[in-house]
Symmetry: C2
Subunit: 543 residues, 2 copies
């Protein structure tokens, strides 16, 4: 019998480098910190299709270059919606007095996505406070054939949260009230505009956690999270929003309030309508309130950072940890050696373990620290003794946890410093999760500077990134549609967690058959016959 | 510090009565064992609306009285579908040679629901083996305007799985192949007709469990489970099928095969169409294959059976156990003193604890026996020392676990021996879960023999049962619509896990607003414009 080790012993067993703990701390870059969304790392250069970002030297602000209007950059035609008139503005002013925004400077932040890849030309932003106000607005827009762009925290990754032309921006920012919290069941009911981080604090003070957590939590709205079916860091443990959202209130395109805001874990009375709106990106209705199941707050969290000799061992380590960590496993992330080289080179972080072909970050969350430590210790002994893992370190205190997480979370930032980045967010069968990376290295040869793979292995989610010194149309042609076709052959998803929004809507057919697309279009036509809700998003341009 | 106790010590701490372990063993009654669905306890008298069961003395079989035809007992009018002709039978024979059943004796079992409350008059049962065959059949029926009743294991509780008139029965029984199982991720892909228990054995041999478990597991089909959004015993731990089902293959009313059978945990490419079919009871499409996420198999299971002095203490004990048992809590069931009196009186079971106003059954499932025992011990010490619990017993071995579970699971059987049973399956806000029981006792007075409450407290699911010596229309009038209206005032669900099927379709509006009903009807019209799929089910008769 191998003796069980508590974390303190584990720290001695593996090499813990103090330099890493300092070097790996998260330091938001000046641009992001100075401009907007302070809780997010700089998006500059780290875009989903960043070759479309305007990189001209002209700039409208001291901190970032101007983003070209979407309608000028993309082949997209304005649909025959009405144009907002003075009478419309007066009507809105009557519905929500004092909350009709037309100041271009204020509108700028809502017309441009946070990745700065798309830019709309909306002339009006509405800030309702209640579902009734949203209903009144949509009824009016429906009658007037005015297009509407629902907007939460505007933290989306695919250009889904900003207008393409002059759509009215309907912001949930002032719908930010908690409606109820049930201290026995952990059910939270709140308005759609509540910021995720504020909700997290609210429920954590009451002994629960939100079932989702995202890098954008300081800005994103729960309504937007649900509308985009956000994945995030707690997905492996608490699953999809399709399981944790208990009820929704949604305002339909014609202003009908659909009240399915129950707090029941079980309800089999008819079709589960709320599911339609989870992940529909505001194209089928505007989510105005959310009822969500919060799990109890774990009292102990551990993070292990390990080196593996190959991807087969990364997979076997995952199997082993599912067995031995069982119910306390809360994250299983991986990154390849190229990723580590980029974060150590560009961000001056220090690897806490010996150089390895692959690295794995494992997080446990449980209700009893000593039990979790014992499980983790036994797991580590098994994977070390069997050669699945060649080196590793474990952290339990908050600062070291963050430092280890930073090695994984800051890969995107390191990539953006490496040059021009081509980014793909794919779901693939776990056993083939990494195959595309060496395949692309061989295909691209010296045309690419780096081809790297990392992501949420536990969720089958690969972040595939390719860098080059500068944007190259030839390189892009070598990547697309090759990457999408490769993913389609594995029956994978060309958008694992980011959705389709505006920028990815035309790749839907790589992951869904024509019959599914047709049904989606029928659902859109049923729920929004005039197409006024978030037009030009989610579904491909043509039938 | 209170010392930690292992289960053996706990057994000594509490009173474990050997008599109980014997007395509480599950003994299927002769009727059920002799007739059909051997894995299920006898349904006789234990029906959702059992006053509708024919109790005439005439009988078509030696073991059960005949069930009156639904069309004779209920006010329902046949819709203008075509009648199956000889040419139709020949066409089906060409599609599935040798698998077109017209023998009335074989058809009998598929025309009557297992609760023996409804009976259709179908003349033909089809047994396709592939999705292509299902598509071919539906395309033909769609062209010919023939109504179709999809049928899995026929274990539904609300008359949803048998024909009302002469609908063609489309059985999934021969679609029973496992398509794939992924030993790293635990993803199972199989045909819709696989029996749940067989799937459980299959994945358990590979170190996983099915995320759902039901009393009917020996008969029910996974396709039917998904079509009815089955809840069951593992709901508290693994959540809803809306979260655990990864993909579906569905044949639409016109024969279109909708292939959304991916095995991806994350896929945000367009609307999540599979969600539409989960819980739609075969009215929107026929599920032909399922992809489902199986969690790792727990290596340790404990059950505690406790006595509580009041319902407030039942709730506080739940809060306490969520905190102290955390991630290993897998069931929290409760029953009142009347329930215990019924199971001890009618079934000669012995209560393992002192007489109490309420009893709680708590199950833990984890990956490490000694850790789970320690957590459970600490929890029990806390609830005992604080007076939330006044007595209790704990079991870890398989026989005693089953004996304790039997006290809870056999309540329904005891009720059926107590007289005529009026049954309701409600979801309610947890804090009000029991309020309706004393309310009804006061309302009904001596008209009722017993009014009892029990159920899945952890899921907010109350099983409310009223008994009387014989069926009484006056008592029924005192119960309905009172129970439904009371539930509606709490924003509860009048069908927590059983669905609506045929028998409950007219109570939908107690739990869903008119706007939701209208949208459901629109979805039905979109997906099945002729209404051939499982007609007379789920949605109310009139618009």
């Amino acid at each position: 019998m191998v003796p069980h080790l508590v974390p303190r012993q584990l720290v001695r067993l593996f090499r813990w480098q103090v330099a890493c703990a300092r070097g790996a701390s998260v330091q938001p870059r000046t641009w992001a910190a100075a401009c907007r969304i302070p809780s997010l790392l700089s998006p500059w250069g780290a875009t989903g299709t960043s070759h479309l970002v305007c990189r001209s030297s002209s700039s409208t602000s001291p901190c970032a270059p101007e983003v070209v209007l979407t309608q000028e950059r993309y082949p997209v035609t304005r649909l025959p919606f009405s144009v907002v008139s003075e009478e419309d503005l007066e009507a809105f002013e009557r519905i929500i007095p004092g909350r009709v925004v037309t100041d271009p400077e204020v509108l700028e932040a809502s017309n441009v996505d946070w990745l700065r890849t798309v830019r709309g030309g909306s002339k009006v932003l509405l800030r309702p406070r209640t579902s009734q106000e949203v209903a009144h607005i949509l009824r009016y827009c429906h009658e007037r054939n005015l297009a509407v762009n629902p907007q939460g925290g505007n933290t989306g990754m695919v250009g889904g949260s900003v207008p393409v032309f002059d759509e009215i921006i309907l912001s949930t920012a002032q719908m930010n009230q908690v409606i109820s919290f049930h201290s026995v069941s952990g059910t939270l009911v709140c308005q759609a505009g509540c910021v995720l981080e504020e909700l997290s604090h609210y429920v954590e003070e009451r002994g629960f956690v939100m079932p989702l957590d995202l890098g954008a939590k300081g800005s994103c709205h729960i309504g937007g999270n649900v509308a985009t079916n956000a994945g995030g860091l707690r997905f492996l443990r608490y699953g999809s929003l399709h399981g944790t959202v208990l009820g929704l209130e949604v305002v339909l395109a014609d202003g009908t309030i659909l009240n399915c805001l129950t707090s029941l874990r079980k309800d089999n009375t008819g079709y589960d309508l709320k599911q339609l709106f989870i992940g529909s990106e505001g194209t089928l209705g505007v989510i105005t309130a959310v009822s969500i199941q919060c799990p109890p707050k774990p009292t102990a969290v551990n993070v292990a950072f390990l080196g593996c000799p190959g991807f087969a061992e990364v997979l076997q380590t995952f199997s082993s940890c599912r067995g031995l960590l069982g119910e306390i496993l809360s994250a299983y992330e991986f990154m390849d050696a190229e990723c580590m080289r980029l974060v150590t080179h560009h961000l001056c972080l220090t690897s806490p373990v010996q150089e390895s072909p692959f690295y794995v970050l494992i997080e446990t969350s449980g209700s009893r620290a000593e039990h979790d430590a014992e499980k983790l210790s036994d797991f580590l002994e098994q994977v070390l003794s069997s050669g699945l893992v060649t080196d590793g370190t474990v952290a339990t205190d908050q600062m070291k946890l963050k430092a280890l997480w930073a090695l994984r979370e800051r890969i995107s930032e390191a990539l953006s410093q490496d040059g021009y980045v081509y980014k793909y967010d794919l779901s693939l069968p776990t056993e083939r999760l990494y195959d595309l990376v060496p395949d692309l290295r061989a295909r691209l040869g010296s045309r690419a500077k780096h081809v790297v793979g990392y992501g949420h292995l536990g969720d089958g989610n690969l972040h595939l990134n390719v860098t080059s010194e500068a944007f190259s149309p030839l390189l892009l042609d070598a990547l697309e549609p090759y990457v999408y076709e490769w993913t389609a052959r594995q029956r994978g998803s060309v958008s694992a967690e980011h959705g389709l929004g505006f920028r990815k809507r035309d790749v839907l057919s790589y992951s869904k058959p024509p019959e599914a697309l047709r049904l989606m279009q029928q659902l859109k036509a049923l729920l929004d016959p005039q197409g006024i809700l978030n037009p030009y998003k989610t579904l491909p341009a043509q039938a």
